[in-house]
Each structure stands twice: as structure tokens, then as C-alpha cells.
């Protein structure tokens, strides 16, 4: 919980934020058992800090996905490979 002044927002299951942050990956994988998944969802629905944390992990994976692209083989390397392939199966 981000606001100790509002104890009524305490999730009924008492899943603490420091527990939730360790469940983020398995949660995002969709691999939590249904009961725990529900506790996580309940928690982030009430906790701005954890909602933000989970969203930032998602944003992080979005940035990571954007790194894809990579350099192709150099033309020389490519030619050498194709020549080798030709020779090996000729």
C-alpha cells in the first residue's frame, strides 16, 4: 500500500508489496495458481505502488522488445557460408 493513512485499502489477503514484487514475473507469465493470481490482481487493484511496479516491468519488456533488429551477416560471411554449403552438398 502506498498510503498508510488509508488502512481500509489494505488487501484482505495481506499479500505484502514486497511479496508481490517477487511474483510479478510468474504473474506476467500467467503461471500463478488461480487463488494466488486473484490475490495479486486484488492487490494491484488497490495498491498504486504495485500497480505501477507491474506496469513498469511491462514497459521494461516493451523497451527490450524494441532492441530487436540486430545486424545481418556481412555480405562476405554470407557468401562464404553459401559457398561452403554448395561445396558440402555438391
Amino acid at each position: 500500500m502506498t498510503d498508510p493513512a488509508e488502512p481500509s485499502n489494505e488487501p484482505v489477503d495481506h499479500l505484502a508489496c514486497n511479496e508481490l514484487v517477487e511474483l510479478v514475473t510468474v504473474f506476467l507469465e500467467g503461471d500463478l495458481d488461480p487463488a494466488t493470481e486473484r490475490r495479486v490482481i486484488d492487490h494491484i487493484s488497490l495498491c498504486d505502488g504495485c500497480d505501477l511496479y507491474v506496469d513498469q516491468v511491462r514497459q521494461t519488456t516493451d523497451v527490450l522488445a524494441g532492441l530487436s533488429g540486430g545486424a545481418p551477416l556481412s555480405p562476405a560471411d554470407r557468401e562464404r557460408l553459401l559457398a561452403t554449403f554448395r561445396d558440402s552438398s555438391g
Binding site: 514475473t25 507469465e29 505502488g49 521494461t60 523497451v63 545481418p72 551477416l73 553459401l82 554449403f85
Partner: protein
Amino acid sequence: MPHTALPPDDVLAGLLLAGDETAFAQVVDAWSPGMVRLARVYVSTEDSAAEVVQEAWLAVVRSIATFAGRSSLRTWVYRIVANIARRRGGREARTVPASSLGAGPGTDDAGPGTGDTGGPTVDPARFAAPGHPFAGHWQQPPAPWPGPEQALLAAEVRAEVAAALAGLPARQRVVITLRDVHGYDSAEVCSILEISVANQRVLLHRARAAVRLRLERYFDHAAARAAEEVP
């Protein structure tokens, strides 16, 4: 992310076995960039990564007849890359055998919470201490990040994330690169690296937390700089 233009694995393997050069050129073009990135995880220069990929393709050509279809062809090829790159890599000493996971702190820790095993991924000081009425709840919650509309930031953010990746322990870097950069699913990564689902998840979890933390620090600094500039 399978290349949509490629034929199904059994057909492809058959074409390669039959010496079909067009098919070979097609897979070389489709997979080599990803193979270079995978190799780069283990070896320290682009040149040696390119050499690893060359060597891997030669091994593929030599041994395509042994491809049994138990994994996808691409996974089979990636395993060859990983094995060659690992053998060549100067980082071998930094990698932790799967069997040592869970047997104590990783030997390749780059700092608190960044190792392969053990310990929380978020600084415990950010949560209320035990005994506090809100023990375990955020004391220092994350601050919102600027939205994706800040296009000017995008290149800097990518550079920051790339630097964070480079600083990860080798095993974490391999897993997060395959999963989040290349888009492989969990089963494929386990298969390529020959690790368990649980190990894969621990490595991914720690890696993502470390990269997120790096971005958080970057945005915090950016916000602090912006605040200073406001009169």
C-alpha cells in the same frame, strides 16, 4: 519469432539435407541476426560473434541429417550456437552451471540483488520494516514514468536498457535476451539452454527487475534534472 516465409521444419530440414541452396540462403538470412545476438551474449566482440555464427552454420550443414525434429529446427540451430559460443566465450568462468542454482548466492553477482539466486529483487529499504503496521508495504513506491509520447527519450531509453543488459550476469542476460528481446517463449528458452522452467523463471525475474531498476534510476535522474531547470 518464426520467420513466416520459411517452410515447415520437416520440409526445411529436407531441403537443407538435399542441398537446396535457396532454402539455405533463406534460413541464413532469417536466423543469422538472432544467432549473432545470442553469440554476443557469450563472446566479447561482434567479430567473434560473427565467427561463432559462421562456425555454427557449418556445424548445421555437417549435421543436418541428425536433426530429429524433437525440437524446432531453429531451436536446434540456436543450441548449436549457444554451445559453440559458450565454448569460445571468455565469460565461461562467469556462468553458473544450472545445478548450482539455488545452492547459495550466485558466483557472478554484480551487486546486491543482481545475482542469479537469493535475495529480494527490490531494495527492502523501500518497504515498511517488520513490526511496522504496514510491514512489507511500499514506503518509497515507484514514481510514474513519462509516457511513450516522449519520443525524444526513446533512443536514450533504449541505450539505457542495452547498457543494463550488458551489465547483467551472463545467465540472466541470455535468458532475458531470448525471452524479451527475441520473443521466444519459456518452453523454447528452456529447450535451447537446457534449463528447467523454474531456473528460467528465476533468471528472467532477476534480470527484468535489474533492468527496470536501471530505468527507474534513469527516469529519476531525468526528473531531477528537469526540476532543476525550472526557475
